[in-house]
């Protein structure tokens, strides 16, 4: 039996170096890292690559491996520098495709050729889409009308708070024009719908008032009026007048309440408030003072009640006219 020669210190060191290198070669370096990560419950487990296993162009150590460093053939031959490692982006997160989120850029040709369209658009805006510019209206009123129409168009069915810059500047001019056309049509329809209901109620109110009036006039001989107070004092029968007033008030209450309910149901007040000069001033002012927006609901409510008050005053005016006519006869 031959005795194995004891290893010298140098040989021992060389063998150990070779063993260490062998344990890092052939992808084992990455495995070692991943083993550590896995056992340490790291969030990066199995996702790292060792610098020894990265496929970089070899940056030769200028002096080469001197002497008997680690002379085995299975050494990692690619010596990388930090620059190469820095440029190797294997561990970087994946690049996300954001094309789905980006809006298509406008066609430059269309943009260049759309100057005329933009001019037309502004002309239409400033001249009023429905052509309802009165001869006596000044420039400010026209601008207010522009804002109102734009706001009405933008908020038709949507309840937006007046015109927004996006209404003017969003999208291409062609898209904007179609949208504005649509908004205008919607606004016009809403207005028509509102007027329709107002007309219906107008018919009902006036009919009721006239019926009430002529009933009392024809059936009650003492139902008279005069512009002279002494005549009114002579033949004054309060019961007939009181009867008329009670019926009038009752009728008014019923019609106004019904109108209010229907307006709330079909959102008819919006059309009124949007076209209101006060809302337009508020919208204009809120662009400088955003705090003014908090008063908008209050103003809208007041305008709604004002419309109801207007109905009552209109009916009252009719009654006054009728009694005035009666006093002549």
């Amino acid at each position: 039996m031959s005795e194995s020669k004891p290893l010298s210190a140098e040989e021992k060191k060389r063998l150990l170096r070779e063993r260490r290198a062998a344990k890092m070669a052939g992808g084992k370096a990455t495995n070692r890292l991943n083993t550590i990560l896995t056992q340490g419950s790291s969030v990066k487990s199995s996702s790292v690559t060792s610098v020894l296993d990265k496929e970089d162009s070899p940056s030769p150590s200028p002096s080469g491996t001197t002497g008997t460093t680690v002379g085995s053939d299975d050494l990692p031959t690619a010596t990388t520098t930090a620059l190469d490692i820095h440029n190797n982006h294997d561990d970087d997160p994946d690049i996300q495709d954001i094309s789905a989120f980006s809006s298509p850029s406008p066609d430059p040709e269309k943009l260049l050729n759309s100057t005329q369209d933009i001019d037309d658009m502004f002309t239409k805006i400033f001249s009023g889409a429905d052509g309802a510019t009165g001869p006596g209206e000044d420039q400010f009123a026209q601008m207010m009308k522009m804002f109102g129409q734009a706001g009405a168009g933008a908020s038709a069915g949507a309840g937006a708070d007046g015109p927004s810059p996006e209404d003017f500047f969003a999208g291409t001019p062609v898209q904007n024009e179609e949208e504005h056309q649509y908004q205008r049509e919607v606004a016009a329809y809403n207005l028509y719908y509102h007027k329709q209901w107002k007309f219906r109620f107008l018919i009902i109110r006036f009919s009721f008032i006239l019926i009430n009036f002529f009933y009392h006039f024809l059936t009650i001989p003492t139902f008279k009026a005069s512009s002279y107070s002494y005549i009114r004092d002579i033949s004054y029968d309060t019961t007939t007048t009181t009867s008329f007033i009670v019926w009038f008030t009752t009728g008014e209450l019923i019609t106004i309440a019904t109108y209010f309910l229907i307006s709330m149901k079909y959102d008819l007040f919006k059309t009124t408030t949007e076209n209101s000069i006060f809302i337009k001033i508020l919208s204009f002012g809120s662009s400088f003072l955003p705090q003014l927006q908090q008063y908008r609901p209050l103003v809208v409510r007041c305008l709604s009640y004002y419309e109801l008050l207007g109905i009552f005053l209109a009916d009252l005016s009719l009654v006054v006219v009728l009694f005035g006519l009666l006093s002549i006869s």
């Binding site: 290893l7 210190a9 021992k12 060191k13 063998l15 150990l16 170096r17 063993r19 260490r20 290198a21 344990k23 890092m24 370096a29 070692r32 890292l33 083993t35 550590i36 990560l37 056992q39 340490g40 790291s42 060792s50 610098v51 020894l52 940056s59 150590s61 200028p62 002096s63 491996t65 001197t66 002497g67 460093t69 680690v70 990692p76 690619a78 010596t79 990388t80 520098t81 930090a82 620059l83």
Partner: protein, 353 residues
């Protein structure tokens, strides 16, 4: 074949051929203490040789470790005459460079001067570059000692230079410098050959002799090549990894070892610091027991991963290891493994500074 590896740094301390020892690892693991301990043991075991401990960490700690002020020039450690320490100061080194450059540009009103000083002082890696320049200087001095260079004979030559390095990233950057510089210089040389006439013209316009510049660059390239050669020779250079028995440190240590292997730098020793050895205590503290359990888990992992390395286990002491006397007592465990049953008295027995 089973090659038994002692869990000590005996092989490093006794290896006579070693010229460069780097001590590095993650921040706060005890690099300065370990590098100081290695330097102390080298000085104690080789009383006739001179050793130099250089700190390349911008946040120097050597002065605190030895309780003695050190600076940019090597100063002997009090109580250990054959050991010197140096803390490289980038600002002072830059001033030296500026003074050297004044021979080329003596204009006191040069607006670029102060700007360049501020600018170069802030360049990332400037600390590493200046440390490297120090290395070059010592290589030159070694030639003096070897008798190969007779131009300067009054420089001290150190048998071994120990580097207390900055946390891992800085150190790796420092170690790349030789190969990076060498590539740069060789590129420059090839370019200078092609653009020689133009360089002559520019050099002449600036009042500098381009030939002198080229010769200096040539000399620099040779020195860098020599450094590169020495750093990749395991008989001349080794890297001691310092870590603690925790997950992050273990992972960083493994990455650092792999990175160093890619630079062809020898790593054969790992020092595991701050170990509690709590199982043999008479009155074990619950926190220590729990922590020791965690440390043992990673120690077992290290034993598997680093069976071909010298794995030195150092204890966590009750006080800071500061001052030459404490360092002497603590550093002996680098050569003789710490036995908690026998050596536990040191935990509370150190001098308080």
């Amino acid at each position: 074949m089973d090659l038994e590896l002692e869990p000590t740094l005996e092989s490093i301390i006794q290896q006579s051929s070693l010229k460069w020892i780097f001590v590095g690892g993650k921040g706060g693991v005890g690099k300065t203490t370990t590098s100081s301990s290695i330097a102390v043991q080298l000085a104690l075991n080789h009383p006739n040789d001179q050793f130099l401990l250089i700190s390349t960490d911008p946040a120097h700690n050597l002065s605190d470790a030895f309780c003695q002020k050190f600076g940019k020039d090597a100063r002997k450690v009090e109580g250990l005459e054959n050991l010197s320490c140096m803390e490289i100061d980038p600002d002072a080194a830059m001033n030296d460079l500026q003074q050297q450059a004044q021979q080329y540009n003596n204009d006191p009103n040069d607006p670029l001067k102060s700007m360049m000083q501020d600018f170069t002082g802030a360049i990332p890696g400037i600390d590493e570059a200046l440390s490297f320049m120090e290395v070059l200087k010592h290589i030159k001095n070694q030639k003096v000692a070897d008798g190969t260079d007779s131009t300067e004979s009054d420089k001290i030559s150190y048998k071994t230079i120990i580097f207390d390095t900055a946390p891992t990233g800085h150190t790796l950057r420092f170690l790349q410098l030789p190969s990076t510089l060498q590539k740069l210089l060789s590129k420059f040389q090839s370019l200078s050959g092609k653009l020689g006439p133009m360089m002559n013209m520019l050099g002449g316009a600036g009042g500098q002799n381009p030939q002198e510049m080229f010769s200096k660059l040539n000399e620099l390239e040779k020195q860098v090549a020599e450094v590169n050669e020495q750093f990749t020779n395991p008989d001349l250079t080794t890297f001691v990894c310092v870590c603690i028995s925790e997950f992050l440190s273990l992972y960083e240590t493994e990455r650092m070892i792999q990175e160093l292997m890619s630079y062809n730098m020898d790593v054969n020793s790992i020092v595991v610091n701050q170990l509690l050895f709590a199982e043999d205590e008479v009155k074990p503290c619950s926190r220590c027991v729990s922590r020791w359990k965690m440390q043992k888990k990673y120690l077992d992992q290290m034993s598997e991963l680093y069976e071909d390395y010298h794995l030195v286990k150092m204890p966590l002491l009750g006080t800071e290891i500061r001052g030459i006397n404490n360092l002497k007592r603590f550093s002996k465990f680098l050569l003789k493994p710490y036995d908690p049953k026998v050596d536990s008295s040191i935990i509370t027995d150190l001098e308080e500074k």
